[in-house]
Symmetry: D2
Subunit: 307 residues, 4 copies
């Protein structure tokens, strides 16, 4: 399938990548996870994002993920694929692979590792858009990329047709609002801030890409439905329930592992506990959760009504 006639909206989870204990992509579990998400009524899937451990997957594994998901979804909902790499030429290689495997759109960050000027960041997105001939979404993730896409840059690239949307995981809702107000018709503003979905939709965002949506896609589908209907009280209640559930990312303490490892580890543990995937294995060099930490994850599931 292609992108919707209008723009990307609603719940588009960044799909976790289940792994076998020896680190291979567990395609059987991946397919079950896709069914779990699609069955909840999500509006699209984002594979090879941060919650997918894209940074840890080899080129071979990345291709396998896109192929597996695209084949299984079979056009029912759009599949966006991350092309996460340091610079234009390397991003282009990933983008071509993903599109060849059937992805409907490409998601790319500004250059990282390489330290670039805003003019070079603009050039980066423009070159990618021109080469791939497919919809391009910018991914703003300063905690990983170490630069921020400012509102003027995004709006310029929206206006000249380079970008069809923005996935904002910066946490900067003031800039998000500025972009949402001024972006051209058809441009899609998606937030990655899974604890601020109701407020993001209130200020003009069109959808959400929640890592926690792997664990509880039904909750995010309800949340967006309430917000879209203007039922802000019900939206807030649902969001607050999800905030409690999100506490699972603190099951493992910062003294023991990176915050990314703790979050992905918790999401995968929860998916295993819920019976969606077979193993909670995370990629190297991430430190795995202990049994006690997994028990804390289980408590969060129970407290949120998912036990």
């Amino acid at each position: 399938m292609n992108l919707p006639a209008g723009r990307l909206t609603g719940v588009i989870p960044p799909v976790c990548t289940p792994l076998t204990p020896d680190g291979a992509v567990d395609t059987r579990s991946l397919v079950r996870l896709v069914d779990h998400l699609a069955g909840a009524g999500v509006d699209g899937l984002f594979v090879l994002g941060s919650s997918s451990e894209a940074a840890y997957l080899t080129d071979h594994q990345r291709r396998l993920v896109v192929e597996t998901v695209v084949r299984h979804v079979a056009g029912a909902i759009p599949v966006l694929a991350g092309a996460i790499d340091m610079t234009t030429p390397r991003v282009l290689d990933h983008a071509e692979t993903a599109l060849a495997a059937g992805a409907d759109a490409v998601v790319a960050t500004a250059p990282f590792y390489a330290r670039t000027h805003p003019a070079e960041i603009a050039r980066h997105f423009q070159r990618i858009a021109k080469e791939i001939g497919a919809p391009l979404v910018a991914y703003d993730l300063p905690s990983s990329v170490h630069s921020k896409l400012d509102a003027d840059l995004v709006l310029d690239l929206a206006a000249d047709g380079t970008l069809v949307g923005l996935k904002d995981s910066s946490g900067d809702q003031a800039t998000l609002r500025t972009i949402a107000i001024s972006a051209p018709t058809g441009f899609s503003v998606l937030t990655g801030s899974e604890l601020l979905v109701d407020t993001a939709l209130l200020l003009g965002a069109h959808g959400v890409v929640p890592g926690l949506g792997n664990v509880d896609p039904h909750g995010y589908v309800r949340l967006v439905k309430h917000a879209t209907a203007g039922e802000w009280g019900r939206a807030r209640a649902e969001q607050e329930r999800l905030l409690g559930l999100f506490g699972m990312v603190d099951a493992a303490p910062p003294a023991r592992m990176g915050r990314g490892s703790a979050a992905i580890g918790a999401f995968k543990a929860a998916l295993r506990l819920r019976g969606v995937i077979d193993h909670a294995t995370t990629a190297e060099p991430q430190i795995p959760l202990t049994d006690d930490e997994v028990a804390l994850v289980a408590q969060r599931l129970t407290a949120a009504g998912l036990g």
Copy 2:
């Protein structure tokens, strides 16, 4: 050839990667650059580092660079190859390719983009060392990687045999000194701070990996020779001449491009002006130098006696 019986020492330039105007690797120019460096008496070559634009080269180009240089050097001096990528599984893929192409050692950074705990950084290097069965050098480049390898971490990984050396481009000479004093025999401390070679050698470093060494390898060979002989006055004079030459990295102003683009652009312009390579092209999305900026580079060459 293999690594020297003792440890890596002396001048080991990070080899620029000449490109054709359409962005392909210019292997004819690359070979001439290798001759230029080897002819000056450098002690080794580091391909696929930051000055090589490794972050911008595709996997295909990376392999071509290693193969071309290894074949041409033919064992005369060791060739170290960067395996620059985000996480352990991806670094391993690059390392295997480089070693298959004949590299003598692998150079890797801590994980980046992924945000990892120091315990995960240690695990990263340990997994790589165990898998590759070849010498591993840690590359400390906080301006790109956004974490710093602290002295205890490096010393632990030196003591357990994970690392054979450190390439330090952090600019933190106090930590460099702490490591140099305490590292085990045979561990090689290399500085990437091209303006602080005399002082780095005074405080215990064993060698230097100077980006500017592409332009003036003879200068760095003399500088190391003076310092090794304890002729600190002559070393300082040579270093100050090279500091003047390094001013070329400011030919293009920060308002126009990233500092990396300005530096690599200047080095390549200087190599072209000196007749070593055919084109000063830099990889996308870097902004190229203007003719006026190249003229400033030429002035620096002349002032340093290389005109």
Copy 3:
């Protein structure tokens, strides 16, 4: 007057400090500004905050500001006073002066310049609260203080009675939400994010401290009224009008001055254009706006219906 029986709520503008052309506090203009704010129906005043240029005022000027405002307000609404300094002993000196001059509560940041551990930050607030015997509000401003107050720290200090509230200017609405949900009854969560007032109130904040509220207090009073009434559509419309007005902070370009200077300069220019204060002078070493930049401020006023 003392603090309200319940907690601080509503609109509490950080009061600009009008200066004469030679840099003295312009008390006549300050009194008119207080009337402008109180007349619009704000719920309290925050003097000696960042928008007040507290960092630029001498001890003498700081005392004069508190005395002038407290005397003029005469208990009609509460007056909070910033005690902005590097460490506990210095903050205590400012707090004592402000309380002696009649302030109703003290607002303090974590230590800055000094680099402190979270345990030392907690100790800092605890010592202050114990010494002053008056309500203490924590001020979270990572862009100036270079550390972030995390949710656990704030909640612990709320639970043990150290803090009566938080003024959050971090822009991190997810942490704000976590605090708002878990804080004890009576604890006041105030946002300094003047472009996110509707969303902050939706997620549980109790009030707002908007720098732009100096220029348009009526707008913020309306905005809070709409939000409190659950009229989110009207709140959003008011917030979007204020977002347009806020564009005045970009009248002076980043190439010419700091973003703080541009914002304070614009607010003061707008207050002068509106006839509230006599001079738009900002404190040294801030660069003043040009006439052309002031004309852009005037355009923003007109566009927002305040021309």
Copy 4:
């Protein structure tokens, strides 16, 4: 006394501020510390710097420190006084007090807390120099100030007579070298990097302001003497002994307190163990060292021959 006819050179320790157990300035101990330093042959004293806990001292305590030291030194060696505060007007107040108390020169940082443009930083130093009519030294301490003084800025302010020197605690020796090479005659480049004194002098610095010099001033006097004589081997040996001694700053672990608290706490513990000051008390809110941590400090003293 006034500043030396030439320029500031040699060892100029940042003088610790001894405190009584209840946090008052212990002037008796302060005088003994001054004798300890002057008796070792240091070339000047820097009071109210970071190692003096200037950020923690009240205005009253700051004045008392300058008065006590100036009176006791009685012109034998120059006394520089820090005027550490956020902005120009506040720095001026401190500078006037220090000069009235007899300080020979003023040391000031760029504005902090306030976020300023480089043009505003230049204006800051120019206003201060113009107002105080006394020698002004710039203090570059990015870890506290969160901006870096770049080489062009310092060289411009040296050339126009605003600054008589730079105290560089940035750790950036490449910039230090650039400044040392190009600064006008009479401009003094002082390093605060106590582990890099030999290398700083090799690359052109004129003196050192070592916090650890409180504990072992004789060591730093010998180190500078060797370096000045071109005896780099002896200088290096002395520096390496001092590096071992500096290990005392790690006696308290980062999990328990800030790195500043650990360093100042260790210096004060060592001064008490050496019988120079009566109490190792540090200012609030710094966490004190435990007895076990003090025992580690004692071990460092013994190992360095000062037990």
